[in-house]
Amino acid sequence: MLTFLLDPFRYDFFIRGLIAATVVGGLCGMVGTFVVLRRMSYIGHGLSHSVFGGAVVSYVMSWNFYVGAGLWGFASAVLINWTARRRQIGGDAAIGIVTTASFAIGVAIISRARRFTRNFDAALFGNVLGVQPEDVYVVIGVTVMVALVVFFAYKQLLFVTFDAEVAPLYGVPDRWMDALLSLILAATVIASMQILGVTMIAAIIVVPAVTARLLTDSFSHMVLLGAAIGTCCGLLGMLLSYYLDVASGATVVLTASAIFLLVLVLTSVRRRLRSERTRRSTARLTPAEVSDLFD
């Protein structure tokens, strides 16, 4: 049993993958709170597809992946924000236009030269084998940077996330905070792409945060819980990926979904029990006691 459990740790690539997936899980979970509460879930989804275009272009031009995809991702985020500020165009439509066009550029380039195709499986679906030491450093670096930003801009980010209309009236630099959130999201997506895959990132950003929301009514707790749940999903998903021989992005997402489902069921049961208890305890009251309750 012990050898079975320790077996994967004999491989450097697995240890790298495990570290990367665990850290990425925590990163996505932390960022997820802001994404979910600002109703930017679709942006995360779109941005990851958009960055795929950047990844392909930087490969063809033989630029560094992170530099190429980073610039591309940030440019798309700014473009989305800018398009969405036009009143006639809704945010969702703006994301649809910008990111799908960007994804299409990637697809178009790949289809011109079919020999690339295999190299992009990892980018689309995530691949544990593909994780290089460089990727681990980038993931850790981005996570530390995002954690610092969230830590030191916590009050400002909370205010703009809660009430984007009123925050500037209280002197919060809302445009800067918007830009900061776009930057955080783009960095998260790019750092996660090699490990989780374009198609899976949105789920790993959204699901742990939504799960945390079910468990708490406090913003600070939601940020911390989201990060904790994301970390667990990355760790467990990676181990499952090894034992079941399934793509790592898929196992991480499925782990997150399973935890979400479990929490959903448990919190629903708890809620039902609580209202049942209130109903019973009030049923036993005398009319005088009931009228006291409403005083």
Binding site: F151, F152, A167, L169, Y170
Partner: protein, 296 residues
Amino acid sequence: MVLDSPPTSTSQDTLAAVDVAGLYCAYDGTPVLVDLTLQIRPGAFVGIVGPSGAGKTTFLRALLGAVPRTAGAIRVFGKEVKAGRAARIGYVPQLETVDWNFPVTVREVVAMGLTVEGRLFSWPWLSGAQKRRIDALLERLGIGTLGDRHIRELSGGQQQRVFLARALVREPRLLLLDEPTTGVDIKTRHDVLHLLAELNHDGVTVVLTTHDLNSVAAHLPQVVCLNRRVVAFGPPASVFTPAILEATYGAEMIVVRDGDLTIIADKLGIFRDITDQHSHAHGADHRHHTETSDGH
């Protein structure tokens, strides 16, 4: 319930709390405020009334420097309000705009008021003094035990107090409230107005907008009739006349006075019949005094 505001006698008295001169504001080329001039003295308690789209909210936001203006000057306690730069004013938004499902506790909302202005970064926690300030304020507003509750679990009046606390925690000298009595029941409306009168008594200048001419505006010491510009400004007794109300709302209004009580109704339909029958039933010598814009 006439809320008297006592005269304050500080050296700041010479400076108006709000001094707006020749203000023009526009959204996307559509003028909202046109040549608006208004002076509010320190310690005043002012209600702003006017039809929808008259620019009530825009006016409040202009005082906060949040509305682009095409012309005019705004001074708050003698200091020029700069465009895009928030002055230190307490602002309570319409509760309708709040996302009640957002995961924040009462204390977290109030702490937002202490976000340092203009800064990108700061420490994420509150100092001991700030925590005590928040607790003392919650206590004073009668929601001291609710600090760790989620905002959705509160009654309408308590919710209003939470957002009032967020504004007051900055210790403002000027408090702006957008429709603080809309969508709340009579008791809550009464409580809120009482609380504001108390704050006003302590020297805070209060400016609120309201749709409710009868049960809110008529009780305030001063009223502004706004429709893109200031139609009239003064105590309700002198401002609520049929001519001024018609100029403000663009519709004929009836004003019924009975001693201290003022009732305003639109001229169309059922209200007129009722008031007519009412004065008939009580005879001609009764104190009722009905005014309309086409004579008395």
